[in-house]
């Protein structure tokens, strides 16, 4: 089966998004971030020593998984019903709420995605194919005011340059981004009012539920041992948040 194949190969191919703290690439090209670190620990326990990461657009991850181009997605791709239909998720790993990166003091007072829908001048940036885009569209933000931003750094830049009024990502991602930029004219507003807290899991191809199940077993042990918390909490994630919920709940949550 799939796990044996991976063991033989000695590596597992994962999709990541290059969005700290979920996923990151160091100057040396080494993959880090909370999601790949957890995956690395679990796969090591399963007997697969190496990770081989490809950086993908969020929108391209699921097609890549379906096309068999990667074995798993460990990128902070939050569970949502239609995604749960498309892929096989593990139990939750990283949880985070949605946030907005906007000018300090939030002069226009944006608090929810609806606020953007209601202000005919407001322009919101979000990654293409991400949760935030979906939530904003559902809240009624029209396409032409919802700017698809190719990556987080571009989002930051576009807020700084005043091209968009706010850029939406999970809280920790924005905190990390803002901290790195050192820009005191911006702030992170969190959580976005009315937006649920989401959790990601490692996502597998629907055909590979065996692999997913094996992953879940080792993930549970990791959570049990406290190792899980030691990996993700330095990145700012809460281990408790992930442990206190489960896949069924998250997959049912719109």
């Amino acid at each position: 089966d799939k796990l044996d194949d991976l063991k033989d190969a000695g590596t597992v191919r994962i999709a990541i998004g290059n969005e700290p703290p979920f996923t990151a690439i160091g100057a040396d090209g080494k993959v880090s971030g909370a999601a790949p670190d957890v995956a690395r620990a679990v796969f090591a326990a399963l007997g697969v020593a190496d990770l081989e990461a490809s950086i993908l657009d969020y929108g391209a991850m699921i097609p890549s998984l379906q096309a068999g181009r990667v074995d798993a997605i460990t990128a902070g791709l939050f569970m949502k019903p239609e995604r749960c239909d498309a892929v096989a998720y593990s139990e939750p790993i990283l949880c985070d709420a949605e946030a907005l990166l906007l000018p300090a003091g939030n002069p226009k007072g944006f608090q929810s995605y609806e606020d953007f829908a209601n202000d005919p001048e407001a322009r919101l940036g979000a990654p293409g194919g991400g949760t935030e885009e979906k939530l904003a569209l559902d809240a009624g933000v029209p396409r032409d005011r919802l700017i698809v931003v190719p990556d987080a750094q571009s989002g930051l830049k576009m807020v700084q340059d005043g091209r968009i009024d706010a850029y939406s990502l999970p809280v920790l991602s924005l905190n990390d981004l803002l901290a790195k930029s050192g820009d005191d004219k911006l702030e992170v507003f969190a959580p976005v009012v009315g937006a649920p807290v989401y959790c990601d899991g490692a996502a597998f191809n629907k055909r590979d539920t065996d692999l997913r199940d094996a992953f879940d077993v080792e993930l549970a042990k990791l959570k049990e041992s406290g190792e899980f918390a030691r990996i993700i909490e330095p990145y700012g994630f809460s281990a408790q948040a992930a442990i206190s919920t489960n896949r069924e709940t998250l997959c049912a949550q719109e």
Partner: protein, 219 residues
């Protein structure tokens, strides 16, 4: 910012990917250009038709569309799931190859009719005519345009960053998101691209000089 040398290494790794893409893409383009170019002037209507369809299709649609099609759509047909590198080489090679095919065809038709007739008079077969007489004379005519095509291909490699192949443009994006500096990585790669295309055009020009020197006085 402190780790700039590390980031430079990352960009140089990307540069290597760009160079590989350019070389492999050009190699594929060259092969395809000859196959399709010869197909265009084949006696067999089916071959002619096929080559024309290929050329018009790949010249008619955008390379981005071709790239996305090969990378995302082709796997879903269940036929084959190319890696980003394979998809990049394939898209670049097929796209530029379509332009090259017209160059091949034009150069072959530019060889004077006299040469065909001399071949018949010494009783060469069709294949021998092409291989020993026509192509050797057509090649120097193709080179300048091939050179331009190779530079276009080099520039087009940057689009593979959109399918997350870690070429130079992509690595610049990575560095940018790691360091928060936009200016430095982009200026670096602009200079590197320019250096590469300059090297390419110099190389082609000197090769061209060598080849045409042999044919001194022919035309």
């Amino acid at each position: 910012m402190g780790d700039w040398s590390g980031y430079l290494t990352l960009i140089l790794q990307g540069a290597w990917v760009t160079i590989k893409l350019t070389l492999m893409g050009s190699a594929l383009a060259l092969v395809v250009a000859f196959v399709a170019g010869l197909g265009r002037i084949s006696r067999l209507a089916a071959l002619r038709w096929l080559s024309t369809a290929y050329i018009e299709f790949f010249r008619g649609t955008s390379i981005f569309v071709q790239l996305f099609w090969i990378y995302f759509v082709l796997p879903m047909t269940g036929l084959w799931a190319p890696t980003p590198m394979q998809a990049g080489v394939l898209a670049l090679g097929l796209n530029v190859g379509a332009y090259g095919a017209e160059v091949v065809r034009g150069a072959i038709l530019a060889v004077p009719r006299d040469q065909y007739e001399a071949c018949i008079a010494v009783n060469l077969t069709r294949f021998q005519r092409m291989r020993h007489v026509i192509l050797p004379q057509a090649l120097p005519l193709m080179l300048p345009t091939f050179g331009n095509n190779a530079i276009e291909l080099l520039k087009a490699t940057s689009v593979v960053s959109l399918i997350s192949l870690a070429d130079m443009t992509f690595q610049a994006q990575v560095v940018r998101s790691q360091t928060g500096s936009t200016l430095l990585p982009f200026v670096t790669i602009l200079v590197l691209y320019f250096a590469m295309s300059s090297v390419l055009s110099l190389a082609i020009r000197s090769y061209e000089r060598r080849v045409t020197r042999g044919l001194d006085g022919v035309r």
